[in-house]
Subunit: 518 residues, 3 copies
Amino acid sequence: MALKSKLCLLVVLLSVVALNVAFAKEDPELKQCKHQCRQQQGFDDKQKQNCERDCEEYLKQKEEIERQKEKEREEHERGGGGEGWEFYTRNESQEGEGEDQQQRQEEEDEEEENPYVFEEEHFDTWVGTREGRVEVLPKFTKRSNLLRGIENYRVGFLEANPNTFVSPSHFDADIVLFVVQGKATVTIMKKEKKESHNLKRGYILKVPAGHPFYLTSTDENENLFIVKLFRPIFLSGHYEAFYGPGGQDPESFYTAFSWDLLEAAFKTDRNRLKRLFRQQKLGSIMKVSKEQVQGLSKRGEGGSGIWPFGSESGSFNLFRKRPSKANKYGHLHEVDSKDYEELQNLNLMISYANITRGAMTAPLYNSRATKIAFVIDGEGCFEMACPHLSSGSSSEQYGHGQGSRSSMQKQKKSKRYQRVSGRLTRGVVFIVPAGHPYSLVASPSNNLEVVCFEVDSEGNIKYPLAGDENFVKQMDGIAKELAFNVPNKEVDRIFGNQEHNFFLPGPTQQKQGGRAYA
Amino acid sequence: MALKSKLCLLVVLLSVVALNVAFAKEDPELKQCKHQCRQQQGFDDKQKQNCERDCEEYLKQKEEIERQKEKEREEHERGGGGEGWEFYTRNESQEGEGEDQQQRQEEEDEEEENPYVFEEEHFDTWVGTREGRVEVLPKFTKRSNLLRGIENYRVGFLEANPNTFVSPSHFDADIVLFVVQGKATVTIMKKEKKESHNLKRGYILKVPAGHPFYLTSTDENENLFIVKLFRPIFLSGHYEAFYGPGGQDPESFYTAFSWDLLEAAFKTDRNRLKRLFRQQKLGSIMKVSKEQVQGLSKRGEGGSGIWPFGSESGSFNLFRKRPSKANKYGHLHEVDSKDYEELQNLNLMISYANITRGAMTAPLYNSRATKIAFVIDGEGCFEMACPHLSSGSSSEQYGHGQGSRSSMQKQKKSKRYQRVSGRLTRGVVFIVPAGHPYSLVASPSNNLEVVCFEVDSEGNIKYPLAGDENFVKQMDGIAKELAFNVPNKEVDRIFGNQEHNFFLPGPTQQKQGGRAYA
Amino acid sequence: MALKSKLCLLVVLLSVVALNVAFAKEDPELKQCKHQCRQQQGFDDKQKQNCERDCEEYLKQKEEIERQKEKEREEHERGGGGEGWEFYTRNESQEGEGEDQQQRQEEEDEEEENPYVFEEEHFDTWVGTREGRVEVLPKFTKRSNLLRGIENYRVGFLEANPNTFVSPSHFDADIVLFVVQGKATVTIMKKEKKESHNLKRGYILKVPAGHPFYLTSTDENENLFIVKLFRPIFLSGHYEAFYGPGGQDPESFYTAFSWDLLEAAFKTDRNRLKRLFRQQKLGSIMKVSKEQVQGLSKRGEGGSGIWPFGSESGSFNLFRKRPSKANKYGHLHEVDSKDYEELQNLNLMISYANITRGAMTAPLYNSRATKIAFVIDGEGCFEMACPHLSSGSSSEQYGHGQGSRSSMQKQKKSKRYQRVSGRLTRGVVFIVPAGHPYSLVASPSNNLEVVCFEVDSEGNIKYPLAGDENFVKQMDGIAKELAFNVPNKEVDRIFGNQEHNFFLPGPTQQKQGGRAYA
């Protein structure tokens, strides 16, 4: 019943439509959609026609989805919500390739839903007060066994109002923070001193497992928004927060000890201790005064480095580093343990991509790293080729023991790659496993900004599959001819036509003079 | 039905009582208990009253437990045994905090039993002869999934009579030995030579996986007692012993081969081989003569280092190293790979704590390491704050998909920490996962001695939560005030009151002049 | 009902018989078998008698197996096939040791089948065209949990006709190739250049995960046969092939992207792209002309090293290295990361053993490494002592909680080692876990050649259990006497009798003068 793999361009177009048109089952939306097609300046006539046909297809599909959803609502108690999701996962049969359609249809029935894209409803709320919240995705393997390669990572975010304080705690996980918005002072208690870090957009900070730390949102106007990667150290994929100072919510871990023990430990009467450990009723994110913020963000005592005076040790500003790829279609910043030593034991690279509106990344893949990507701003879509979801992929499905020794013709199936796609907006998380080709497209109206945690990044190479540096260009002429079974010249023409590299003009982007593709 | 979290002081007091008073359902025990309370010299009047009330509470609870146990005996076939355990795991409601009681009671029904403490009945007997035994705890994940972080470790012990010999064998596990009592000569067959090590109390020796070794208990009077940590190398958490020389019990692995093959391998007739490989019927731990012991413990041939002449390579005497913490309340010795190179690849620290009778360790936690502790002597108790057992802890219990995009108020629960506790006597094993605050208390009558294997110890920091070096003292004044929501002065007073560090006077320990706590 | 542990010699003898005699239930086969016994020149009278008795036993057993198989055929749909297997796994009771027989029989009922040996029917066909095939064993844990120590490895082979081309692809797995037969040119696309390697028998090549590569079978007459070890990098034990150039079978992963996206990426019209990505209908292994082979195997452009001119970087010829063990009974070549740097991160050694016909390896074990062995030529058999399959081995079967504190006599069972055995012919894979004693025997008529991937090889030591360098010889005299419970002289006589080392004359091999064993 799962509906899959959406035409990416259409997603982008219709997401624009969606902003303008109230939800309707008929004409008005179709009309707008077609209008949008005709107005796309980069389109030639045929593309416009395709686009309009896609609009019709889309609406038929949408109606069907609506019917289906109503049916599902009756079956399941919780029903609602997922509309946005289904929209982006419907069948690619709309591409009108009749010969493939039926076969694909049959396969779909066996396939499970796309587990590579996470939207807001997938997050759990760990902390939620008037002043802020912490939301974390469940263990990836809760979603799908296909994600067990990143089972021992968790991803989440903190959002806190201006002038707020986040209570001290420690975690049984290493944490990497990336500041997306706002300003923060983070204070970490190390072995025998404390270290304070003033952070703003683009700063990366690692908080090692078990180190108590607290945090102040120091901007007066802007919310603080921090993306977090957790690597639990004891239970794979499972971690806990431990609050020392606490009260009702969160509770202090001190109160789990017996009062006799605590009396002795603190040389203090139990009543006094109870008053101390139960007084905090504001939750772990609380409003603070301007003066308190100043006190908390002032220069650290005793030389603990405070930005901008000597923060070099401890945190790293991603934007201080030159982009590793940059042209007018986008830029990419990459930080690894050579830049920020603290990443060493995590085998982690952090990257930030800003894709210009209307542009795209060349289809590419990572040779070793798996990407956990968090969309921090803008709008766009994502396509990935995935062999695991395809019904023909799994060797486990092959028959066993049916062959005799002499037979070389055992049952086998050819590879088929399933398109996985998703609409990207702020807060969406998507996963790209090692080896999987993927591409990102920014909407025509907004730059798309993504921060990525690339785990197992040691020795990783990014292989572009199109654009000026694609690897097919380097292949032997004979190999190209054999591999594609067309004349070498034709392979070269196609793989050599795109003069840009890594960041490319996207499908909806205006080309010079409105010419069609070669 | 699980009963949890015992008042630690009471455990210690009553364990003394238990030695003096035969089990009785009424007055005599209560009388003794109250008498004990009144005699505690460190107690002020209020503490004495609390103590007496606790006695009453305890006996009520105990009767209830008895009733329950009888009921259980009828249900389960094996019934008996666990009395000591239930005693130390009953409800903390005895602390008389009515407001919390009911709520906790409800939660308990959902919780599983404390999986962090192991007593004698949890061990399996691997070897058991007239002359000695080897007992090993089952794979930790057999007990609980909460221990999967140490799934690939096993812990056990060897006890052997004086003047005994333990047969040669090899294991598919790395083994670390810690000698608690007696004297031993261990001979390891390395690539092309053998190495002999004379060991006594405090010696640590690593036997690498696959290396054949044999062992002699060389003291004439004292039993040999060795604590062992195993790290299996092929099957996580599962290992086997391979006996070459053997007979009926253990069998020799040679006899698994066909006699044809063995005849060729040894160029020897099968009847002669059978006589060789079946002659040993004494089991793997056997009595030997004084002369044989001398022969086995004499200086090794060809320069293999024998203590005390050059044993530096190979084994390490923990007591040669200065204690890292020491005061009149206890001392702590720590050995890691910087001291004993052989621990390098195991990422392991071995520590030994001797807590003076009546004293305690400050509540503290390890930032990265997980502690597998083995009580080697004395008496005491253990308390730990655990978020995993608490019903409010697990993010997995949060609802999914109930939130809409705009809603920030998804279901969430505050952290609650469950007390895990246990009575400590020789042979008890307890686990403290990374990040979990815990404390040990020695009984008023005996020092408590514990040897700990701290796995994943690289980069570990011990964070004391009370005592002179607790980390709260280092926090910013404003942060303390915000975190606890009480005036800074009050936080400082409480966190600054305890002048001792790491090892502290315990709950029952006499204070100067019998004054109550501040 | 499982039948186990075969007399190895008999296997070898009868495998010769099997070539000459059509299958028959009675006399002719028995006659031939006995004849063969009498003709064995190395046998004395008693051995000949034993051999003839074994022939009778064997045929009785075989008839029983036949009856059983027919019964099973009725129960199971697929019935046939496994004859060869059951033949080599029948009960050792034929060894006529009445005293053990009954006990063993009882244990067998609880035991699972030998999961350490894989034959052709266990392989899955990943690629199968007119011109070649790729066959891979399923994830080892699909077969048995006892193999979870090598869960993250896969093993397979490629066989390709002369003058064929294997399409470019990349894998989400590190791959190590060992060329058994034929000649190949492998071209790997690295970051910014391509590297070509001309390979022939004995060459080892690592293809790092994610690197696109293609391959040509360049010999005009001989098939190419390559053994492959895969180490998946994202999903443990599961990997996929990604074909860029492709068509119907395999499909190109490009076609999983939407045509809009591809048009933009390639700046090329979709019709043209469709022609390119669907033109290849020949499958991934295809015939090529002599000229094309020459083009593909010619010296690489721009200095990419091509054998024999400078292939030192990248590939390694195992036969260039001196054998680490060699005598007239066999030789052993071993390659690790000190020889071939590329193996560094894989913690892998590759070895090649050639055992002279009629000879054997001394029983031995690896202290840390686990061996994944692939028989590349010849005929022989394999015996291994395995404690995991034995009913007495598993500590998990011990009772829990039945002991009281004072009791030292808890339930326990002695170790028993089960013989695991298998007949070895080209294409058979067998596994030897760390610590497990094993031995290989070559048939009297053919050398046995085996290539082994030894995983977790760092710090591994091979411990011979018989032969001139066995470790028992080094033990203290007293220890030997105690361990075997026979006079030291007798131990020395037996363990000192075999003057050869590592490779030994085998059970059927002629000894000087036909004398019986001492």
